[in-house]
């Protein structure tokens, strides 16, 4: 240190200013390099001010504030912006201050944070608040301290610095007077819509309106009642119309359904065509349902096949009878109307479908 002083003393007067400037630059450089080498210093607890919250900022900072509007009514909102700017290197940025921790603020204002409007870059930080003056006694947004830590000061406990944000004068007017007709001593809803004066008369007011909620009883009734009714209907129908029921049952057989449909169509044809079609339908049905191997069977072949399937003698007899009648009708010179043959064919199909040991089981 003494060497530096001796050097300053010895050098010519015109060089002293330049030398001092160079020394300053050197010390600034050495200081920051040493900080970078050491990392962010840990501010000591000792010496930290207790009269206001610490911003956790480390560096050197300036604070400015802005309020808009500054003329307003009591309880109306104003936007209060606190802008912190760094003077040099920033080792730790400032944190958002809670203005409620400043008694002056919490006594004078309702405070709402608008943190979503905050902004920051490398060297400046903007914090936004919404303040509402509690009453007309509020004359200004008070000054408040911004406390930060400046490293490099010895001893370190003296490194805490305070910048005071300036106070901002406000003009707070009382809220508007309640207009006549809306005050407590007048009939308040005098401008109410006519529907407010519409009262309903006795009969409707004494009605008991059920609030039908989703009670399990109602849900149960809705779920169970229709199927129960339908089941009853079906059973009654079965009892009242057994043939219809039987037919419906047999129509479930696809082959039978198709055969019955073709038989109904065959009724519209001429006698010769009708006989041929009815025989073909029954043969096809037997081939499909009972695996009859012959495409144009004789009555005897049909009987043999059905006997092999252990069908009842009555059914076999009906089938044989049908094929005999069909042969007779086909080979007569002038065949009569074959309504009986069609009915016989329909009856044969229904009987086969009604067989207790259903042909479909084979």
């Amino acid at each position: 240190m003494l060497d530096w002083v001796a050097l300053l003393y010895r050098c010519p007067k015109r060089c002293r200013v330049e030398l001092i400037y160079l020394l300053s630059l050197l010390s600034f450089f050495v200081f920051h390099v040493s900080l970078l080498a050491e990392g962010v210093p840990d501010p000591p607890i000792q010496g930290r001010p207790t009269f206001a919250p610490y911003s956790n900022a480390i560096g050197s900072f300036q604070v400015v504030t802005l309020a808009t509007p500054t003329t307003l009514r009591a309880e109306d909102p104003l936007t209060f912006t606190v802008r912190v700017t760094a003077d040099g290197a920033v080792l730790q940025p400032p944190e958002r201050l809670d203005l409620r921790e400043f008694p002056d603020f919490s006594e004078l204002f309702y405070i709402e944070d608008q943190a979503d409007q905050d902004a920051a870059d490398d060297s400046s930080w903007k914090f936004v608040y919404l303040l509402k003056p509690r009453d007309t006694s509020v004359r200004a947004i008070p000054s408040f301290p911004f406390i930060y830590f400046q490293p490099g000061v010895l001893p370190a406990s003296r490194g805490y610095m305070t910048r005071w944000a300036p106070s901002i004068p406000l003009s707070v007017r009382p809220r508007d007077e309640v207009p006549p007709g809306k005050g407590p001593d007048s009939l308040a809803p005098i401008d109410a819509p006519p529907t407010v004066y519409q009262f309903i008369e006795e009969r409707s007011v004494l009605r008991k309106q059920q609030d039908i909620g989703l009670s399990p009883i109602w849900i149960g009734i809705v779920l169970v009642l229709p199927p129960a009714f339908c089941a009853g209907w079906y059973l009654t129908w079965l009892r009242l119309y057994p043939n219809a029921a039987r037919m419906a049952l047999h129509r479930r057989s696809k082959a039978a359904r198709r055969a019955l449909k073709l038989l109904r169509r065959a009724e519209k044809k001429t006698a010769g065509d009708q006989t041929r079609q009815v025989t073909a339908v029954i043969t096809s049905y037997l081939r499909e349902r009972l695996d009859l191997p012959i495409s144009e069977p004789t009555p005897a072949e049909v009987a043999d096949h059905l006997q092999a399937l252990h069908l009842t003698p009555d059914l076999i007899e009906r089938a044989v009878k049908f094929f005999k009648e069909a042969d007779a009708a086909r080979f007569q010179p002038s065949p009569p109307g074959n309504v009986a043959l069609t009915a016989s064919a329909t009856g044969l199909i229904l009987s086969l479908e009604a067989e207790p040991c259903s042909p479909s089981a084979y």
């Binding site: 308040a188 309903i200 609030d211 039908i212 909620g213 809705v222 229709p226 009714f229 079906y234 219809a244």
Partner: protein, 268 residues
Amino acid sequence: MLSIGLLSSLLLASPDADAAPPSVEGFLTRAEQALNAGLEARDDPRLARAHFRDAAHLYEEVYRNGHHNAACLRNEGNAALLADDLPGAILAYRRGLRLAPNDKVLRKNLAFAREQVDYPTVGTMGRPPTETWPPGLPRPEAGWLLISAGVLYGLGCLAMTRWWMTRKTTLLSIGLLFLGVTAIPIAGLVHNLPNESHERQHPLVVILENGVLLRTGNSLTYPARYDTPLNRGVEARLLFMRGNWAQIELTGGETGWVSNDYLLFDKR
């Protein structure tokens, strides 16, 4: 023996011993008289308000005696509104709309009552939910949805049964169509179910006074959770009760504790 004799003599001597309890018809007649008196006394606001207040209380008595209907609640709400009892009017209209969601007059009057509430100028804190239901479209009521579902389901079952009897494919199509359409009211019911359940668990409350702060705990020693005070007529849902304090939730999800003295409860 002596005590029995004393008791019987007291009962006999009581002037109200043979007086019949006031009937619902009696409440209603008095309510209508109070209404007429209020309308006639419009030049004297204080007197008119007193009459309307009486009418509102009497309609509430009619309602409490089991006559649950939207007409009674509409009259009660109108009387409360004319009596400058904004919280009472809002609560009555809300209860009425629960019974008759499609009552346009109730909805209009509720909208007017809400216009009278002094909501915070900034933000949506305390404001009622914004209406999202398309105008003109009837609102589904749980009862009607259940009836519709039942009718459609029944018709579907009938068509399917007839199809089983006759095997006509047209009936099968009709049955399936009905059963498919049944899904619409069922979907409505399922959609309403959480709301209904939430409303039953967390009944409506209305702020009675201006400047009520939501606190972080159930005592005045707790600080205010929000700086924005709530004014009379603000609607909320009751979450918990502890002593003389209630924890409430505003429409926007803000919660806090309020003394019961500042709340009007919806007692179903």
